[in-house]
Amino acid sequence: MLAQYIGRRLLLLIPLLFIVSIISFALIQLPPGDILNMEVLRLRSAGTQISEEQVEALRQLYGLDKSMPEQYWLWLSNILLEGNFGTSFTYVKPVGEILAARVPLTAAVAIFTALFVWITAVPIGVYSATHQYSLIDYFWTFISFIGIATPGFLLALIFLWVAFVLFDISAIGLFSQQYETAPWSWAKFLDMLQHIWVPIVIIGMAGTAGLMRTMRGMMLDELNKQYVITARSKGLTEIRLLVKYPVRTSLNPMISTIGWMLPSIISGEVLVSMVLNIPTTGPVLLQALLNQDMFLAGSIVFILSVLTVIGTLISDILLVWLDPRIRYEGMT
């Protein structure tokens, strides 16, 4: 049953990734003129002599003289067969090389953020529901409203300002200075863990806020049900009763939240990384777009979308594995 479910989902993944690749390729082609125009202009303005024949040669080199579907196929097959995402004009390096260090960081921030959201939202939601209308419940309600209404990059700005005023810290970054250019080591990893909580908390804030409200609502619905009263009358301790029944039932609908959580985390990550100066894909995406370095920009959009789609799939499968009842909902 589980294998069948996974197989079906994997099969559905193929058309999905196909559409993602078409969208990304369309984005690459979006700026007026072809991709070379910008580069030729840049070279000429820098004083480099470049003849029409050379432009034509470059055009052939990049396959720009071919038709759109051919170009698309060339682009896609290069990615699939050789892992070659094309060349960035501004960095004069293969796109893959530029992103090699950044994509894993993006993934790490996203995964940690998703975990953070779940680990914080569930207990807070349960506590708020069991202590409804208490001072702490009102406190978390207030926090959740602010969290939902404040986009991550604004939170990051406010955080930076507070950090600057109170602690005189002007840059957050992901590593201390001595590790910034150092190769990966255990010490560098530990250093990263000391810094990474800032973006995680900031990006996760909106998700936590939304999820704790959902959890609270679900719990409140469950707490009034008769089986809770029965369990209580049987003399079950309050904590055991909570964990064993209502919390587990309430967790179920939370699973559907993963579908919207990952995309919003990745979206949030792009801007927050820019503000906090974290070397993920976000800042490169903006630079690439401003320079119309479209192979780089399109590749980032492609990779981020694929990461999100696959991430959602993995979490779906994990949860189906944890709770077999969901499988049937997915099958219908």
């Binding site: 993602v20 939902i148 995309p263």
Partner: protein
């Protein structure tokens, strides 16, 4: 969202009994009850909505903000591009009521800029210069709604003095005036964007439903995909393709289109889901069984209920659009200067040193947060009210 439990027929029984009771003896509270049972759906919705205090406050605040947006030229004391030489990064004005001799009403002192020993900008109040704040003063000329040429402003000080309610920016432009003008783009882009998304959703949803089969399947997969991939990178890539030499109005509509091209899917899915679940409701089936025509079911039973759901879905979709515009403008891909939106105003705070020295640059963020919060409150209230027959 969990408070509204779909009606299941159970609560109707006591209603019928009390209607009978109400007609039997016409005492005052009974008459009130009878009025409740005979009131139309919209009256019920309004009744339910009135109970939602936060949503009401939100509605009033939003109405207030939109009035500000409509009359920006009148409310802002200065024009957005008016730069005051010698008043770069002036702090928010201190409004005084008392001078050395006692109460004189609201006024500001003149400002004198200089540099301290660390070469930081400082401003000092000149106690000799008092500028009372007056209502309906003459100032920068403008054309209200492009028709009436006037120079009347809601408030201000005499020409020699300046009033910077929220301080000034790096070119000495009045931040308060710019925030007020920014309200116009930031608030309308949400509405126009959602409207466009909705129209897009209706057309694509209509095509999907009309053709059915493979077309429907493809469109549904497309919606699933658009909902499940991150929006911001797509928005950024699309916005980056908007030509830089377009004028403000062209850019405005381009950004709106960018926002809705990606954003329509979420709205379409919500609306579609609602419609499908309404179609399966007991009362629809009951009507069909009783031989009511499809047309009458749609217009009489589905559409009124459906309209209220659409209003809710639209209200809750606006904040996403507003945040989208703010984000894009903040990183310089959205609205382009000289047009002002809250996002473009926040560009100045990209440099954290700037914010640390001139914290008032973050004030536009407050407007974004409050607006989004108000739309959320309003949406929550409307959602509870949208289904007035549910038990609360």
């Amino acid at each position: 969202m969990t408070e509204s439990i779909p009606h299941n027929g159970a609560p109707h029984k006591p209603e019928i009994e009390s209607v009978a009771a109400a007609t039997a003896s016409q005492s005052a509270p009974d008459r009130e009850k009878q009025a409740l049972y005979t009131s139309s759906q919209w009256q019920l919705i309004w009744r339910r909505f009135k109970r939602h205090r936060l949503a009401q406050i939100a509605m009033i605040m939003l109405a207030f903000l939109y009035i500000i947006a409509a009359c920006a030229e009148f409310i802002a004391p200065y024009e957005t591009r008016r730069d005051f030489k010698g008043f770069v990064y002036a702090p928010p004005a201190k409004i005084h009521f008392f001078d050395e001799d006692g109460f004189v009403g609201p006024f500001v002192y003149g400002l004198k800029g200089g540099r301290d020993e660390n070469y930081q900008r400082i401003f000092e109040e000149v106690k000799e210069e008092q500028y009372p704040i007056r209502f309906f003063v003459r100032g920068d000329e403008y054309k209200l709604w492009g028709v009436y040429k006037t120079n009347l402003h809601l408030f201000g000080v005499e020409e020699d003095g300046q009033i910077f309610v929220l301080g000034t920016d790096r070119l000495g432009r009045d931040l308060f005036s710019r925030v007020i003008y920014g309200t116009r783009i930031s608030l309308t882009i949400g509405l126009v964007g959602v409207f466009l998304s909705f129209v897009l959703g209706l057309i694509i949803g209509g095509v999907s439903g009309y053709f059915g089969g493979t077309v429907d399947e493809i469109i549904q997969r497309m919606i699933d995909l658009l909902v499940s991939i991150p929006h911001l990178p797509l928005w950024m890539a699309l916005a980056a393709a908007v030509p830089r030499d377009w004028n403000s109005i062209q850019t405005y509509f381009a950004i709106t289109i960018v926002l809705s091209i990606v954003g329509w899917a979420g709205l379409a899915r919500t609306v579609r889901g609602r419609l499908l679940s309404l179609r399966e409701e007991d009362f629809t089936i009951a009507a069909r069984v009783s031989g009511v025509s499809e047309w009458r079911i749609i217009t009489k039973h589905l559409l009124p209920l459906f309209t209220s759901y659409i209003v809710v879905a639209i209200t809750l979709a606006v904040p996403g659009m507003i945040i989208g515009e703010t984000s894009l403008s903040f990183i310089g891909l959205g609205i382009q200067p000289p047009a002002v939106s809250w996002g473009t105003l926040l560009q100045d705070s990209q440099m954290i040193v700037n914010v640390a020295l001139h914290p008032w640059l973050l004030i536009p963020a407050l407007f974004v947060i409050v607006t989004v919060l108000m739309f959320n409150f309003l949406g929550d209230g409307l959602r509870d009210a949208a289904d007035p027959y549910s038990i609360s």
